[in-house]
């Protein structure tokens, strides 16, 4: 993916004229020339590339709005997970998006939440209905995306319940990405998948997702996801971004963007918090 300036990506600013550049004064000197941010590439609807090659998505629009509010240019680079982390540590990026907030990570990074991340179970629409209780998953075969929190959650929270109820544990298979999960369900290699609600929602609203349906427990919320900043003494950027985000929440731009991408139910409640206490 090619780097784009956030304000270019959003064709038309949705930030009210009164707010544009409102926070210019609070931006630290060193960032006046611009801020470089990385987000993960290819996770619709947060960041994806259109057929014309434009990089778009909720992340892009939100950063464009932040850029407008700050009155400072923000350059966004959609990259892989590895480069997200390594680029942050090497100072290539001033901060990065799409990171899941965990207590362990808060020791090393400042994290600012801007979405809640939850997991839902999905199957083919033709599949028999599962109950809403998590024990409905006992003994089923489910796909998940590797490295996500849900695997831990299934093993530490759901499997014991299954055992308590005298049922088989959940049969988990980890696939590299969301699309691999979709294929596995379609070809019936697994019965269903436990995936990020946002991603599935976006998928289901498109042509390819028509055969799929939420089925079983949904919106199991484990943590927030947000921006990560390198935690160093002189880190002064995080509060500024928090301020900008707060402004966007309060004047409704944030809600508008959530709505645009069908993410309303994944929005954070109240004002964005820096370094929130995580459940895990």
């Amino acid at each position: 993916g090619c780097a784009s300036t956030a304000s270019e990506a959003a064709e038309e600013s949705i930030v009210p004229a009164a707010d544009q550049g409102a926070l210019l004064d609070s931006v630290p000197e060193e960032f006046a020339d611009g801020i470089t941010v990385a987000t993960q590439a290819d996770i619709a609807p947060l960041t994806y590339t259109t057929d014309e090659g434009d990089v778009v998505g909720f992340d892009q629009d939100l950063l464009a709005a932040i850029s407008d509010v700050l009155g400072v240019e923000i350059t966004v680079e959609p990259v892989t997970f590895e480069n997200l982390i390594l680029g942050l540590e090497s100072g290539t990026y001033d901060f990065v998006g799409d990171t899941t907030i965990k207590n362990e990570r808060l020791e090393k990074y400042d994290m600012l939440s801007y979405l809640t991340s939850s997991y839902s179970v999905a199957t083919l629409a033709s599949a028999p209905a599962l109950g809403d209780d998590v024990t409905a998953l006992c003994g089923t075969s489910m796909g998940v995306v590797t490295g996500e929190l849900i695997s831990d959650y299934v093993q530490t929270a759901i499997d014991p319940e299954c055992e308590a109820a005298g049922l088989e544990p959940v049969g988990l298979t980890e696939y590299k990405d969301f699309a691999s999960n979709v294929l596995a369900v379609q070809s019936e290699n697994v019965e269903g998948m436990i995936v990020d609600t946002m991603t599935f929602g976006y998928f289901q609203s498109g042509d390819a997702g028509a055969d799929f349906a939420f089925n079983g427990p949904s919106r199991m919320t484990l943590s927030d996801s947000g921006y990560s900043f390198l935690q160093t003494q002189e880190q002064v950027l995080a509060p500024v971004i928090q301020e900008a985000l707060t402004l966007l929440v309060s004047d409704g731009v944030y809600a508008e963007l959530l709505d645009k991408y069908g993410l309303t139910e994944s929005g954070i409640e109240g004002d964005p918090v820096l370094n929130p206490e995580a459940t895990i």
Partner: protein, 304 residues
Amino acid sequence: MAVLETGTTDAKRLALAELNTRPRPAYGRYVAATVAVVAAALFIWSLAINEAVDWSIVGRYLFNKRILDGVVVTIQITALSLLLGFSSGLVIALMRLSDSRILQTLATVWVWFFRAVPVLVILILVNNIALLYPELGIGLPGLPMIIGVDTNAVISPFLAAVVAFGANEGAYASEIFRASIKSVPTGQFEAAKALGMGSTRMYWRIVLPQAMRIAVPPLSNNTINMLKNTSLVSYIGVSDLLYTAQSIYAQNYEVIALLLVACLWYLLLVSILSVAQSMIERRLGFDRKKKQKAVLSSEVTSNA
């Protein structure tokens, strides 16, 4: 024809000797071929009419701009990495074949290292070298640099990709060059030296053209391999053909259709390479005597 009197030949034998011979019809071979052709046809047909494959989507994306850009990136990275890989591979092969223990050891370690480490790791390390060495320059570790430049300013992702794939390919190619140089008869080296050639000329004009005959098939294996492996550059933010297809299906979930798009392009690229390969092989096959070839192939058949 004057038939000399040669003793025992009787009428029955003479009668047989009048007949023309014919090769054994290879029934097994015909059966195998028929089965294979039918299987291939069924496979293609069943794919063509399969509902799971949406050919209209394949058609739509085949000449999509992003896909075409991906093809260009794939070709560029492959070509540049091969250049770097083949040239470094040649040097390393000569080092391994030299009689200097030091050079041998160095080359062996180099090959061992770069064959062992996944390209992905080299790629990520080179691209993020700024993390390990924020400044590149001349100087001793721990002391200030004598001349230094900001690492990120020097290493672009594209350069990182070429370096990583080139280093990897160099290690593999060196093994191929080593084996093929060893297959050139000693007499050729000696004839060149006796004419008063220096080593460089000897290698370029005499040894390598002959070594290439054995090296071309495995080297083109490597070339094709690299063509496909370039999809790893997606890890450092460059999109080649395969990754572009993946990134498109990450959004529209038409996994099979987009993989088929990528396949069709790879088939085209590999076809071009295969034609080039057989042209090169034919040009280099200077001493494959007709006679020898005929004998060889008849040997092989009777096995099949």
